[in-house]
């Protein structure tokens, strides 16, 4: 029987009458349900850093969400105005510390565009090599922690095994494992050391096999599928409007990769496929990154082949007291997380007048509330993992 109002409900309840299908509105009125506000983070391990979320819950469903950021704000843009162009490079490492080379790359490309510096081809190949290794390492860390959050512990250990190999390669070439500061305006710091190419080739041989190991654990795993398929969906139009870029938007079927659409460095000479899947959900984003790792491995191989045959200089002559012309430029590269752009305003002095970093994670985080609405609390973890944020880059 249907219940009309609260009074009737209470009467029936007192009599002990068993109710049929009770209308939800009346139930809600009778029990005085209200939104429950839950604070998540900033010390929550699944938020990948110091991200704070305020969730409004109706039962266990999310009805609203507010994202609070800024806990890691270091004022990089202000600092940039007080450093010379060369001195700013180490600060870019600290933005996305998972893929420091990619962060360097965006900055040097912007400065070179401003000052019209021609970079030796060998340096460009080394840059692409390093940036792609960074991409693999970033995606490996993403897969490891994302799977760990959802409950697949083993993948974490496997991924870190391969990531260790990449970090060893970085250490060999630059001396640093995370914050490498390897790129310079006009080239890279130094040529690749002896034995690097062989070791890197070894990695490229092993890596595709190892991706099969991850696939055995995840690709058709029923638990993985039920935690990721149809979770945190976002359409292509909504995603673009919210500023979503990189692998996250490619998971919504948008074929947009800056390496292909606006080629920089030597990407136009390299053969690779852009990974696009149209599931719009967490699983599609997993597929995109999984494929990107393999494609990056292909790019690394091509770079190694070229580098073996073509010795040469790795750095253009750039004066120590470096004064670019007056003007403003914006240059963007495809970082592992999405479009990374630097906007530099120069007044002709040794320091940038204004430097603005367009961090992909900052923009990607904006679509998190849109993705999570209507899902369960546990799915927020999957959604955060799927857009792959690094708080160093969000807060700058």
């Amino acid at each position: 029987m249907a219940v009309k109002d609260e009074k009737q409900f209470k009467e029936l309840f007192a009599k002990g009458t068993s109710l049929g299908k009770v209308e939800e509105d009346v139930m809600r009125e009778a029990f005085k349900t209200q939104d429950l506000w839950v604070n998540m983070g900033p010390q929550h391990p699944s938020t990948h850093g110091v991200l704070r979320l305020i969730l409004a819950l109706q039962g266990e469903r999310i009805v609203d969400m507010e994202v609070v950021i800024g806990y890691l704000h270091r004022g990089t843009e202000k600092l940039g105005e007080f450093k010379t162009y060369h001195q700013f490079i180490p600060l870019t490492d600290r933005l996305d510390y998972i893929a420091a080379n990619a962060m360097n790359h965006g900055y040097v490309v912007a400065v070179e565009k401003l000052a019209e510096i021609e970079v030796p081809e060998r340096a460009e190949y080394i840059r692409v090599l390093m940036a792609e290794l960074s991409r693999i390492s970033s995606h490996l860390l993403w897969l490891a922690t994302h799977a760990l959050d959802i409950g697949a512990m083993t993948v974490f250990l496997y991924c870190f095994r391969e990531r260790e190999m990449i970090l060893d390669l970085f250490e060999m070439a630059t001396g640093g494992r995370l914050t490498t500061t390897y790129f310079r305006i006009g080239g890279v710091a130094d040529d690749l050391p002896e034995g690097f190419i062989d070791k890197c080739k070894e990695f490229c041989e092993i890596f595709p096999e190892r991706v099969k190991d991850y696939d055995d654990l995840l690709y058709k795993n029923r638990i993985w599928l039920s935690r990721t398929v149809n979770i945190a969906k976002i359409s292509a139009e909504k995603g673009l409007s919210l500023g979503l870029s990189g692998p996250s938007i490619r998971g919504s079927g948008v074929n947009w990769d800056l390496r292909r659409s606006n080629p920089y460095s030597v990407y136009d000479k390299l053969d690779f496929e852009v990974a696009v899947f149209d599931g719009c959900d967490v699983y599609a984003r997993y597929l995109v990154r999984r494929k990107e790792m393999l494609e990056s491995c292909k790019i690394v191989k091509q770079c190694l082949e070229w580098l073996e045959k073509n010795p040469g200089p790795v750095r253009a002559k750039v004066p120590k007291v470096f004064k670019p012309p007056v003007g403003e430029v914006y240059a963007a590269v495809e970082a592992p997380k999405g479009e990374l752009g630097y906007y530099i305003v120069s007044d002709g002095s040794t320091r940038p007048y204004r430097i603005k970093i367009r961090a992909p994670s900052f923009a990607n985080l904006m679509s998190l509330p849109e993705m999570c609405k209507g899902h369960l609390v546990a799915d927020v973890i999957a959604a955060i993992g799927s857009i792959d944020i690094v708080l160093g880059e969000v807060d700058r």
């Binding site: 950021i69 800024g70 704000h73 004022g75 843009e77 202000k78 600092l79 007080f82 565009k113 401003l114 000052a115 019209e116 510096i117 021609e118 909504k238 673009l240 409007s241 919210l242 500023g243 870029s245 948008v254 947009w256 659409s261 606006n262 253009a316 750039v318 004066p319 007291v321 004064k323 670019p324 012309p325 007056v326 003007g327 403003e328 430029v329 914006y330 963007a332 479009e339 752009g341 906007y343 305003v345 002709g348 007048y353 204004r354 603005k356 367009r358 900052f362 923009a363 904006m366 807060d395 700058r396």
Partner: protein, 195 residues
């Protein structure tokens, strides 16, 4: 572009060369300029072409119209707002510059829009055109104190809500105003020095 690449960098900034290049550009070759001129003849204040990037300075009253035109027109389709940036020029009559970088995913090209603002002027928020403007404009407000009219939620985003001053303005010292750090610590972390 090929000629520009061939030239190598010198220690001295090549000012004259750049300016010559600017004058030679015929702006009617850009479809964006043609479209704006056609629909809103009075909107454009200034045009610049530097390092292959087109900059259009528009009057602030026309900003929303121009943005909607560039987003919806079949020949431009700038469907992605890359960022909203503030720049502070304290010596100018209108000291604030708001820069919008638009990207067109179908055509893979960029354009830059600019608006100049006086100290107490507001500019209309572009949140109604691209949702992503929400956080970009909040950040610009946070760092420069530029206010965006009709913004759904204009609050500080990176700094604490009770922060005083706008750090990316040129008159803001690098390490904050003298004594501000001590004052802030005293208010928020009274036991800081006792640890």
């Amino acid at each position: 572009m090929a000629e520009e690449k061939d030239r190598k960098v010198k220690a001295e900034p090549a000012k004259e060369a750049v300016e010559e290049k600017e004058e030679a550009v015929d702006f009617d070759q850009f479809v964006e300029v043609r479209k704006i001129k056609e629909r809103f003849p009075e909107a454009i204040e200034d045009l610049k072409y530097f390092r292959g990037e087109l900059t259009i300075r528009v009057k602030k009253d026309f900003l929303i119209d121009v943005c909607k035109l560039l987003r919806d027109d079949e020949d431009t389709r700038y469907n992605f707002l890359t960022e909203v940036i503030g720049v502070h020029y304290p010596d100018r009559e209108k000291p604030f510059e708001v820069v919008y970088h638009l990207y067109s995913v179908p055509f893979a090209k960029r354009v830059r829009l600019k608006v100049w603002l006086a100290e107490d002027e507001e500019v209309e928020s572009v949140c109604c055109v691209w949702d992503s403007a929400n956080w970009y404009e909040r950040e610009t407000y946070d760092m420069f104190g530029i206010r965006f009219a009709n913004h759904p939620d204009l609050r500080r985003i990176l700094l604490p809500e009770d922060w005083e001053g706008f750090p990316l303005r040129k008159d803001y010292p690098l390490e904050g105003p003298p004594g501000y750090r001590e004052k802030w610590l005293k208010e928020h972390l009274p036991n800081y020095n006792k640890l």
